[in-house]
């Protein structure tokens, strides 16, 4: 039973990342009608915002300590972060320790700016072009972005730990008298995702801006005829989608250390999620994200893999095929979106 609950938690946790990425992807599909293959790269850039902030906070000056030797036998250069010398070791240390949560503030403006630049500088020119062209150009962009990151940060994963206070495990089952321990940061990640998803839905549901965007998603031309500048709003939506992907990346770093190709790892999967959810459907993306996350977790159990060898590697695709064959437009897809 507790094993079952643990896998549910794992699934929800995985699903959080899928849902956040897919949400952004489908927002861009829905609003701009653009297939954005660079969306995984945005997730990756978000993660590297956290890495960058960690590096910035750790910027150090060197003092030579003659009592210790480095690997070549020279006196060891001891590094002290500026932050620690400015704020004292306690506060400075705490700031460094909390670099990942702090990176949220750091990442939001950066990701929105990247989103704006991408949309205005590149994507804008591809609204009228075939989807194949959009795929190619955004795929090219994704390669460029990831190679640039690789150039500066290398190919190996970079450890970006969560704050010590959030690094341990919590006994979730204590309330119901069971022993279900789960990493605190993963719980944080799940709650964070739910919060972001709720915020996006609330934003679209309850603000005038959101209403216009939703109307635009349904029928761009009509809204345009009303004299509303829908393009500017869509640009902002692109920025928001980029920020969502970026935040998903920032918060993901303590779960698994980021590397430059993590975006590509998630890209194919998040496309499957979006399509299973149904093109252009925001609730569909979220639903499919969590659903596939949970199914993937259960397929990874020993029970599943001994019954059907290899099921853990193909479950996502099996589900995708079954869903698409039984529900032509995914779980909650709209008719006529991306069918030509």
């Amino acid at each position: 039973m507790d094993a079952f609950l643990l896998q549910i938690l794992n699934g929800l946790d995985k699903g959080s990342a899928y849902a956040l990425i897919a949400l952004g992807l489908t927002l861009i599909f829905g609003t701009l009608g653009v297939v954005n293959f660079a969306h995984g790269a945005l997730f990756m850039i978000g993660a590297f915002c956290a890495v960058t902030l960690q590096r910035l906070l750790n910027l150090s000056f060197e003092t030579i300590d003659p009592s210790q030797k480095d690997f070549l036998g020279n006196p060891l250069k001891v590094k002290t972060p500026y932050i620690e010398s400015w704020f004292g070791p306690d506060l400075g240390g705490a700031i460094i320790d909390w670099s990942v949560p702090l990176a949220i503030l750091f990442a939001i403006p950066i990701m929105i700016a990247i989103g704006f630049v991408m949309e205005r500088g590149l994507i804008k020119h591809f609204y009228k072009r075939p989807h194949a062209d959009q795929i190619l150009v955004t795929f090219g962009l994704a390669i460029v972005l990831q190679e640039v990151v690789k150039y500066f940060y290398g190919a190996n994963p970079i450890q970006t730990p969560a704050p010590d206070a959030l690094n341990g495990i919590a006994n979730l089952g204590a309330i119901i008298g069971m022993d279900i321990v789960y990493p605190v940061w993963r719980i944080v990640y799940f709650c964070f995702s739910v919060l972001i998803i709720a915020a996006i839905f609330a934003f679209l549901q309850f603000t005038t801006f959101g209403m216009v965007v939703r109307a635009g998603m349904a029928d761009r031309e009509t809204v345009g005829l009303l004299g509303i500048n829908i393009d500017r709003r869509f640009t902002i939506m692109f920025g928001i989608a980029a920020a969502v992907a970026g935040l998903a990346g920032v918060m993901y770093t303590p779960i698994n250390p980021p590397n430059y190709h993590m975006g590509m790892d998630f890209l194919v999967l998040s496309f499957v999620v979006v399509v299973v959810g149904g093109m252009g459907s925001l609730p569909g993306a979220v639903l499919a994200g969590f659903l596939l996350g949970v199914l993937e977790s259960f397929a990874s159990t020993t029970w599943a893999t001994t019954t059907l060898p290899g099921i853990n590697q193909i479950i996502i695709y099996v589900v995708a095929i079954v869903v698409l064959l039984t529900r032509p437009r995914g779980l909650m897809g709209l008719k006529g979106v991306m069918e030509d």
Binding site: A132, V137, E147, V275, Y317, D340
Partner: protein, 399 residues
Amino acid sequence: MFGLNTKDTKSLFIVAFLVVVAPFILNPFPAASAMAQFNAGYPDLMQKFVIFGIFAIGFNILFGLTGYLSFGHAAFLGIGSYSCVWMFKLLGYNVIPGIVLSVIISGIFALAIGFVSLRRSGIYFSILTLAFAQMSFALAYSVLSNPKFNLTNGETGLQVYANDPQWFHRDSLPDLPHLFGLSMRATHKLEIGAWEFQLNAGYYLCALMMLVCFYLAIRIFRSPFGLMLRAVKSNQQRMNYTGLNTRPYTLAAFVISGMYAGLAGGLLSAVDPLAGAERMQWTASGEVVLMTILGGAGTLIGPVLGAGFIKYFENIFSKINDHVLHSWFAFLPDGLEDFVVFLIHPFIGKGWHLTLGILFMLVVIFLPGGLVEGGQRLGKWLHRRKAKDTPSAKTEPAE
């Protein structure tokens, strides 16, 4: 000729000519010169050019004509490769049975996958094909290579072992893939002055296959069937209300392009008898999409150009290192040399992906019709210049 109109016959002959003399024109720089780095006229790369040319030509029959964007065509490439190596393992190293089987087996798989996937269109179709290909990849990489039932030999790749049956193998035959005794690795080196050219048996076999494929593709493009496929891309609704059943048309195109992919896979094994699972990964499927679009989807020669373009970058740019750069710019003063190398460094060697990514973007942004459009524009521009020159030349005497 060959049932083609003059224009197509001409382009077929041009392609045939280029393919035959490729070992020469791809090696324009003397072997010892610094520019030899850019020579592409060695057997492996030339084989890759034509084999991926076949792959892309086939993909183009589906994507270019019907507009159905398959993201899983690498599966057929991989299946073809595995089939061919299995023939090597069971029958012996003659390439004919392997190539024939690779086309048949991939055709069967294409029929099954296409039958299911073509029930949907647009991105839903793309994701279905992607899902099938990724499943094939995942299974080939691990489950199908377990010791009890080793169909693919997993990560290492399927290869011929000494204890394989090879029923028809005789000692007089080469211990490598061969065509009735002519080894696919047989290479004739021709040294002309400072130049060195390599004429390779495997390359010419693949080249011949590519010409046949190219010829068939022209015939298909120009046939009523090709017309129907273009009609599918243009307006399925009208197709249906004109009494035409679109499903078998798209399925036939899917199977044909799957067989092309299988043939390409078989040839890959024929020139190098090892079939790796990576050939089926989505990135490999993506590659052929890129080749086709980059070259010019829906055009006859575009996919071949795109294939050559990508393979050239992969194989030539990845091999340029700082050492080579320094030797090129050695004539510059030291500081400047280092600076130039520093500037170019991110784009070569391990940075070849970056260069390729940038080029993708540039081509798509500025040449929506791919390289073929680039060529057409260049041709028009030259034509205009010529046209400008000619009248002035004519008017001169009058004055």
